[in-house]
Assembly symmetry: C2
Homo-oligomer: 458 residues x 2
């Protein structure tokens, strides 16, 4: 299409979908997509197949032009050489939104096929996602065009994070991991070769999407840097980007993978800073931050309090905070007095270290955690809490879960670090069920707090 893009509502909230290349044959992509749609989508489904009368339980049509109702979205899964003609047919049939799942275009040296698609796009004013992509998920309405079978790749439930991926396989892996960690999404888009709808278009749409609070990307190269930067500056929701191809070897691999010009990394770095985009460098960082965002309130400032029953993990957490540019909170005078009183009353032992990080030492029980956590969470200089629980201690069990959980009443982010093994996994799991994100190492907990802080104070 050209000029201002019409809304993508028909893409993400279609009342009816046609699947071109739908099939009854197990293992065919057009069969998997039909099954994915059949599972939860509530709108009308029109399979297109030249030979079959029925696909699954749906009446099949031999052409898009035969359907006599309005179709909001066409999903195309036919061989690449046929795709331009199907796009043209969409235009003729008045179908404005298209997802091209098929591969075999620019990434295989067939840029000419993409040029033909663009011509039809310009003529009919279409919205096209792909080609060479997985398509989209919108769990709110059961929309699922992903051909990976659910027994191989799980789908996340509804939530407030939008995730957009240039790479289909990376996107699939992330959705799988999000599902395992119960991180909900508002929208997922694998946009592949982005012949039409690109990173900036999606950002414009999601900026206005009431279901989306947070937007995350996996990107190897941005199609139109200037447009993306403008869209990011206009967007008042937090944006996180994992931009790979940072190094010479990575950039060269990206050029083989998505034919992306990875570009000078310093240019990306500068642009991300300018647009206040949070840049992360690893998938784990992306997961860790997404988990925190999906469970905890945002931080209102950069000052963090650490409470631990193991000094070593406190030391490592302090190192990680400094590495990442966050601050250890300076406690108020009142906090110092409250700690002093707690020691006098025997609620906290004199061997504890009551500076930040607060080390309530190895024999800390839930009551001591409660005492210390209450004092720091009520300190006005403290914006968020990182609580370390070394569950190997015989003093810590179920009671500690209740205490940490109760700190959620203060509307400050609470993150837990529990470097535990097989005997404490159930305690970490229960904390997670109560809404506290748990990380195995201090640097991961700090990464998560960095995300909550960035999103809260930007």
């Amino acid at each position: 299409m050209s000029g201002e893009r019409s809304s993508l509502d028909g893409m993400f909230y279609p009342s009816s979908i046609a699947v071109v290349g739908a099939s009854n044959k197990e293992g065919k992509i057009g069969n998997s997509i039909m099954k994915s749609l059949d599972r939860e989508y509530g709108g009308d489904i029109y399979p297109i197949n030249l030979d079959e009368k029925k696909i699954l339980d749906y009446e099949a049509f031999s052409s898009l032009l035969e359907i006599d109702s309005d179709v909001d979205l066409a999903v195309i899964a036919v061989p690449a050489p046929v795709v331009p003609d199907v796009v043209k047919e969409c235009g003729e049939a008045g179908i404005k939104n298209i997802i091209i799942v098929s591969a075999g275009f620019r990434e295989s040296g067939k840029a000419d096929l993409e040029e033909q698609i663009k011509e039809h796009d310009d003529r009919y004013d279409l919205n096209i996602i792909g080609p060479n992509c997985l398509g989209i998920l919108n769990p709110e309405v059961g929309l699922d065009t992903i051909f990976n079978p659910p027994e191989k790749q799980a789908r996340p439930g509804p939530g407030s994070i939008a995730f957009l991926s240039q790479s289909g396989a990376t996107g699939a892996a992330i959705m799988d991991w999000f599902s395992e960690e119960d991180i909900g999404i508002s929208k997922f888009v694998s946009y592949g070769n982005r012949v039409d709808v690109d990173e900036a278009d999606l950002l414009d749409y999601l900026s206005e999407d009431p279901e989306t609070d947070f937007i995350a990307y996996y990107i190897e190269g941005v199609k139109d840097g200037r447009r993306f930067l403008e869209a990011a500056k206009k967007c008042d929701k937090p944006i996180m980007v994992l931009k790979s191809g940072r190094t010479k070897a990575g950039a060269s691999a990206a050029s083989s993978h998505t034919a992306s010009l990875a570009g000078k990394d310093a240019v990306y770095e500068g642009a991300f800073k300018e647009a206040e985009i949070l840049r992360v460098s690893t998938l784990r960082e992306l997961f860790n931050i997404s988990k925190a965002i999906s469970r905890q309130p945002l931080a209102e400032g950069e000052d963090i309090a650490i409470v631990t029953n193991g000094g070593g993990v406190g030391v490592m957490a302090a190192d990680s905070l400094m590495d990442i540019g966050l601050d250890l909170a300076d406690f108020t005078e009142e906090t110092a007095q409250r700690f002093e009183a707690a020691v006098e009353e025997g609620k906290i032992p004199s061997t504890a270290s009551l500076e930040n990080p607060v080390d309530i030492v190895g024999d800390a029980d839930p009551a001591r955690y409660e005492e210390a956590l209450k004092i720091v969470v009520e300190d006005d200089n403290v914006d968020s809490i990182l609580v370390v629980l070394l569950f190997q201690s015989p003093m810590l069990g179920q009671g500690a879960i209740d205490v940490v959980d109760s700190m959620q009443g203060y509307d400050k982010p609470v993150i837990a670090v529990a470097p535990g093994g097989v005997h404490s996994d159930h305690l970490a799991d229960e904390l997670e069920e109560r809404g506290i994100p748990v990380y195995q190492t201090s640097e991961e907990g700090v990464e998560a707090l960095c995300g909550l802080t960035y999103c809260g104070v930007r």
Copy 2:
């Protein structure tokens, strides 16, 4: 003790152990230690208790001097003020090896108690580990002085990694995680305040220990930097150190925790380089490398081949390799020809990217993995292999496990990266059972290869 240290064999391979402060009371440290020894240790156990006649099923003594057999090791778990007298009694009874578990010394402002211990040490020429520590594990002989109950903290089985920790809680967490990941150890030592036996003494001993191939430390501050550096230079086994307190805030926390002078980090950094010590910055890196070391052969060079069914993870892995200073292997001419032939024969599709990282694209099945992996593992320029398995693909299942497993016949390290969710965890688990370490993200796989490469080429 003074002068040259006598062997620590009696510490790690005692024929008999006295437990001072042994108790029948549940929850007491002296009770937990007795139970830990009772589980697997095969030598004689002599509980010392003023009142009881029996502790568990062992005859109890009211004093060390009452035991009329030789005792190789005394474990002391009595209140701090009494400890110096018990150390003296050890000297009088001819017990040369002592572990002081009790806390309440220098870390609580009671340096004078440590001075008294040192005087007895000098007089009787003892080996003392602690105070303020967890003690030691030697799974080879069932030696276990750890008071954390096994239902809270698991113990690793026998293996070739020695792990030494200044922090007890961090050491316990690491042992717990090692157990969960089936990483075996030769020795574990939590050495605490190291009034006598220090980092360098342990290094000297483990350098000569036939059960130990690899030595890893968690350190906040080294007692005698020059001695440690000399010991490290003399040691011809690979050494890995996680030295925390790297930053201002971390150093300050370390000073509260173990009263360690963290020291200028640049000085440590320089010394570690000089002694060819592998420095890691996070617990996860330490785990990741330990897991690889415990399962795979060492790399004979720095050149790595990546084979992936997802281009994006290949790009991220290439970035991580560059970040960490490793190299992507330049394939030989023969490899290029073999790949060309495989494409001609239809075994690898023309859409694959056959430069390194090798991207055999999303629909790769086990046969295609086998073809590609065989070509790269047989390339003389390739020292180790990182194979990425996006198990979300419908093409990958059990067959992929067998193929990757079969690459272990070449005596080059093979590491797998599988960013998977709940539906592929069992496949990752099975690969691990076959001896292939599996990591969830590319940067972790690269960390692991970095460890195998450092250890192989130093």
